[in-house]
């Protein structure tokens, strides 16, 4: 029984058909949550005593940073599943997760840098967490660049999964060593705000944003996966029927 379920879940076709139902709901949830959270955070949450209005960046910075890190593990785990059980679908998920994770990492870095200017007076400092985040971006980019370099998808899949796994083994070491490096070089004058003092009126929108980002992540990951499935399976009958059906409906609409 369990095996059958596993096999069904591993079938790209089954996945494609099943997720068709979820997609609109996920989209709706993420748009609503992110919309409400942004409006709340930008306009209705109270001003921070020390940082003024610039702290409103937190509502996108922190969710993006959370998901950037989580995204790497999602990518590596699905890659590992693909390597171990040779499951097509999980390779596709891994490949879809890489660019999304990279974009989220970029967002975290960008918003952090923009936040740094009003608070620290500079866009960039080589602080431990920031440096680790930059290295995480490089890890993502490495996976993406490797994937692009291969002409055969199956080889690219396995190579990327292996690289992601090696990266996963390294991430804790990298984080620890960067922390150690930073304490070695006695931090300059920079201090982040103490987060313990965050007020509930500031915290609720943050929570909403975090949940919203998770929904959005799930939605885009599934959407990218579905698209990649079609690309890979385009020779099979079900995809050709699907595409034909679509083009017929669009044609009839247009005509």
């Amino acid at each position: 029984m369990a095996w059958q379920w596993f096999h069904r879940l591993g079938s790209p076709r089954w996945f494609y058909q099943k997720t068709s139902v979820w997609m609109p709901w996920l989209a709706l949830a993420s748009v609503l949550l992110i919309g409400v959270g942004s409006v709340w955070g930008l306009g209705f949450a109270p001003e921070d005593a020390k940082q003024g209005n610039s702290y409103r960046i937190i509502y996108i910075h922190v969710p993006a940073a959370f998901l950037a890190l989580a995204g790497y593990y999602i990518m590596a785990i699905s890659g590992a599943i693909g390597l171990i059980w040779k499951m097509k679908l999980s390779f596709v998920v891994m490949r879809a997760a890489a660019p999304i994770g990279a974009v989220l990492t970029f967002i975290a870095l960008f918003t952090g840098a923009v936040w740094g200017k009003p608070t620290w007076g500079t866009y960039w400092v080589w602080d431990a967490r920031i440096t680790s985040m930059l290295i995480l971006l490089f890890l993502y980019i490495g996976v993406i660049a490797l994937a692009r370099a291969f002409s055969r998808e199956q080889v690219a899949d396995k190579a990327c999964a292996l690289l992601a796994l090696v990266g996963t083994v390294n991430i804790p070491i990298i984080y620890k060593s960067v922390d150690w490096w930073f304490t070695l070089h006695q931090p300059a004058t920079i201090k982040l705000t103490e987060k313990s003092s965050i007020d509930p009126s500031m915290f609720y929108p943050l929570l909403i944003m975090i949940i919203g980002f998770y929904c959005f992540y799930a939605w885009t990951l599934i959407a990218h996966t579905r698209e990649k499935i079609l690309q890979r399976e385009w020779r099979t009958n079900w995809v050709q029927q699907l595409m034909q059906g679509e083009s017929i409906t669009t044609e009839s609409k247009e005509g």
Binding site: W126, T131, R148, H185
Partner: protein, 239 residues
């Protein structure tokens, strides 16, 4: 060169069966764009090495600001250099380089086409990205424009000089580091005037003269380097 009167009428002169500058340039660009990842690589190398640097020497902003012009230039130089190892490699291995050398046209244009495309996909993006790296390394505000301009001119010279080295080493199997050795000393003038321009700008002086010298180096390079590279290719092919 070709003397059609002695040839049987039905044959076109061979010159028509070999590509001129425009088609060469086009197919080089096509190859480069098809391998878009290859374009990104020197850039990413540039960023990654510059990110390792503070990890190596420590994160103190003043120190980094002091280092920024020199380091950005040295790493840009390395990125250009390393991306040039493969400039003629694939063509050499599959025999296209020999085919080019067999044509009656001078190799000059073929080399120029390759170098131009190389600069378009390597030097230009490096120059465009340099302000970002300057920011990350705390470069003082006055330095950005001179950094950009000096890299724009300088990387073109670097590409030209590197092509000579790449042509000399194309017949060797593991040329990567050998290329670096041959070419690096030739890079020194470019490096000196490039960092000189940025340093002058940071210190508040005029940096026009340095840029002028870089431009002069570029002009000389455009005239001479492809000639030298063409000669080097012919030497490499005679193996």
């Amino acid at each position: 060169m070709s003397s059609p009167e002695t040839t049987a009428q039905s044959f076109a002169p061979a010159a028509r069966t070999v590509p001129g500058f425009a088609p060469l340039f086009r197919s080089e660009l096509l190859l480069a764009l098809r391998r878009r990842a290859d374009i990104a690589n020197p850039l990413l190398f540039f960023v990654t090495v510059l990110a390792l640097l503070p990890i190596g020497v420590g994160p103190e902003p003043e120190l980094l600001a002091r280092l920024a012009p020199g380091m950005i230039w040295v790493v840009a130089l390395l990125a250009t250099l390393l991306s040039q190892e493969s400039l003629f490699r694939a063509d050499f291995e599959d025999g296209s380089l020999e085919q080019l050398a067999l044509t009656p046209q001078p190799l000059y244009f073929a080399v120029l086409a390759k170098v131009s495309v190389h600069w378009l996909v390597t030097g230009l993006p490096l120059a465009l990205l340099s302000p970002l790296l300057g920011m990350m390394l705390n470069l003082p505000d006055d330095g950005y424009l001179s950094l950009f301009l000096s890299l724009l001119l300088g990387t073109a010279s670097l590409s030209l000089i590197g092509a000579v080295g790449a042509a000399l080493t194309v017949a060797l199997r593991r040329a990567g580091l050998l290329l670096a050795l041959i070419v690096m000393p030739l890079y020194v003038p470019v490096l000196i005037f490039g960092t000189g321009a940025v340093q002058a700008a940071v210190d508040g002086y005029a940096y026009g003269p340095q840029l002028a010298i870089l431009a002069a180096l570029l002009a000389a390079g455009t005239a001479l380097a492809p000639l030298a590279a063409a000669g080097a290719i012919r030497i490499s092919l005679d193996n």
